[in-house]
């Protein structure tokens, strides 16, 4: 497996506060990697900085190419795509328009195939295709955010807290889709507070605390690690709220 995303010694600051300190990570092709950690550990900041939303000190390379000089839009064009925590949908536009814009830089034929693909993964979106994105339920909005990202045929999808505020049954459905995406050749970098579910679907995991990675390894090993079990698994529900 070749490396898709490689982050080396990344630092991200909000003014004087350094929210992410000296973080390194890799994601290979066809791999699901998760970053788990408590609220405020810097996970969302890290993902946004990899996407180019915040400036990042250190090196981020994608498919062997340094991303430093690229804006968000150029990173999207290279196949890196972020589904942000707040989803950032076009609330006053309908589901179909949201999806169509997801394929903004693709050809018409690509967009048509994208629609078919997304509607197969999320049949619910097809039912609601004329409904305004802002009027969808939380779960449907998450599906739309993922669907919109998939319309751009990304090589790697970064999902920020996809389970946030959703009912357990919907969360299960979303994680099923994540597993399915890997089969289709899309790598996933998953940030989650719901460590249990994330570790179940992921190949490898990083544990983040106060802006630093304190542990990493195979997801199955992390899941049985004493410290992780104590701080994230047993009390995952309490930590999330």
């Amino acid at each position: 497996m070749s490396t898709l995303l490689e982050v080396t010694d990344a630092h991200v600051s909000y003014g004087k506060v350094e929210a992410v300190r000296s973080v390194s990570l890799t994601v290979a092709e066809n791999e699901i990697v998760t970053i788990i950690g408590a609220n405020g550990a810097g996970k969302t900041t890290l993902l946004s900085a990899i996407m180019g939303v915040f400036p990042l000190k250190g090196r981020v390379s994608f498919l062997g190419e340094d991303l430093a000089r690229y804006e968000i839009e150029d990173r999207v064009a290279r196949g890196l795509c972020l589904v942000p925590e707040h989803r950032e949908l076009f609330a006053s536009m309908n589901v179909e328009d949201n999806l169509q814009l997801g394929a903004f830089r693709m050809s018409k034929a690509h967009a048509a195939r994208g629609f078919e693909h997304v509607y197969t993964l999320f049949p619910k979106l097809k039912e609601r295709r004329k409904q305004l994105a802002g009027t969808l339920s939380g779960g449907e909005q998450q599906m739309l955010a993922m669907g919109r990202a998939l319309m751009g045929a990304p090589k790697m999808l970064m999902l920020d807290e996809p389970s946030l505020g959703l009912a357990p049954i919907i969360v299960a459905g979303i994680f099923e889709i994540v597993a399915k995406l890997r089969e289709e050749g899309v790598s996933v970098l998953l940030v989650e507070q719901n460590a249990k579910a994330a570790l179940k679907v992921a190949d490898r995991a990083y544990v983040m605390e106060l802006g630093e990675f304190v542990l990493n390894g195979k997801a199955s090993e992390i899941a049985t690690d004493q410290r992780v079990a104590a701080s994230y698994l047993g009390f995952a529900e309490a930590a999330a709220s």
Binding site: E71, E73, V76, L82, E88, F90, A91, S92, M93, G152
Partner: protein
């Protein structure tokens, strides 16, 4: 009140209101997409009107040269921004847009000024000249400031307004000009006389509004522009460049401004600074629409036009005072009704 006078004033108000509506819609569009409050909209009106009048009178307008100079600066900016990645197709694109296009328009206007072309040719050339100025203006002034606050953008906007107005004085002199009418035919219905120009104002305004509606509702670029207005980060995350949306918004705004000017200049004499006042009335409509709502802005613009027509009949000295006073109750109501909104950060 005399019915004939009433109808006449209404007709006059609606004609002016239609033009304010176009300007107001452009202001709402530019603000939604770029957060710029476009004070120089009025200069687009003046430039459009006086360029048209000059061309029709066989004079070469200075705006065509300004378009070339601004295109050159915009091209230099683009080259500087691309210095690390010298990507040939991109350079070719900016060269075509910022250099070739204004130069062709300049040559065409030099030729047209000599030939005394029909009004339609002058109209198209004027639109192209002002559109090119609008596009370069975004590249030179507002694109480098895109990440700053609304206040900084507003101050830059005022600066651009003053600069363009000064250039307007330089190009067109202090005397007013009038342009030829687009349609000379006229019709009488009861006591009302419909001039060809009045009909052209209605026709073009309606066509433009329908066109904009189709553009935003049906085309991919129109939707991308709406997406940027609704959620800037979301738009960037699907690969829609903020600069592309900004360019389209400024292109539309400058074209709309110039078109409004061309529609008015056969009706009233325009001076180098008249556009500002006309733009401000579009601005009132846009404010009543909360700088968000297109339909509310269009309706408000008609109200502004009608109020203006009646006040110029009954109290012509207070015409502007009455129109601008409309703002006070609206702002009061809005500030009472709406919760305090923090400035958007991004």
């Amino acid at each position: 009140m005399n019915t004939t006078i009433l109808l006449f004033l209404l007709q006059d108000g609606i004609t002016n209101g239609a033009i304010y509506a176009l300007l107001g819609l452009a202001l709402v569009l530019v603000f939604a997409v770029t957060r710029v409050i476009l004070i120089p909209q009025g200069e687009f009106v003046t430039y459009g009107a006086l360029t048209y009048a000059s061309l029709a009178a066989g004079r070469m307008p200075g705006t065509a040269k300004l378009a070339v100079v601004m295109g050159l600066i915009a091209f230099a900016f683009d080259l500087y921004a691309m210095r690390k990645t010298l990507h040939v197709p991109k350079i070719a694109r900016t060269f075509g847009l910022n250099m070739v296009f204004p130069v062709i328009v300049l040559l065409a206007s030099l030729w047209a000024a000599d030939q005394r072309m029909p009004a339609g040719v002058s109209l198209v050339l004027s639109l192209l000249i002002v559109a090119s100025i609008g596009l370069s203006l975004y590249r030179i002034v507002f694109q480098p400031l895109a990440h700053t606050s609304v206040l900084v953008l507003l101050i830059a906007s005022v600066g651009v307004h003053l600069a363009l107005q000064g250039l307007g004085l330089l190009f067109f002199g202090a005397e007013g000009q009038r342009g030829p009418t687009l349609l000379t035919a006229s019709a009488t219905l009861g006591s009302l006389r419909f001039t060809g120009q009045g009909m052209a104002v209605y026709g073009i305004t309606i066509a433009f509004i329908v066109g904009l509606w189709l553009f935003f509702g049906l085309t991919l670029y129109g939707k991308a522009l709406r997406a940027t207005a609704v959620n800037r980060l979301g738009a960037r995350l699907v690969g829609i460049r903020t600069t592309l949306s900004g360019q389209i918004a400024f292109l539309l705004a400058s074209t709309i401004g110039a078109l409004s000017g061309i529609l008015i200049v056969p009706i009233t004499t325009l001076y180098y600074d008249t556009g500002f006042l006309i733009g401000l009335k579009g601005f009132i409509a846009a404010i009543i629409g909360g700088l968000i709502s297109y339909p509310l802005t269009a309706v408000a613009a008609l109200v502004v036009g009608i109020v203006e027509a009646f006040s110029s009949f009954y109290a012509s000295n207070f015409k502007e005072v009455i129109v601008f006073t409309l703002l006070i109750p609206v702002l009061l109501l809005r500030s009472l009704a709406a919760p305090a909104v923090e400035e958007e950060k991004d």
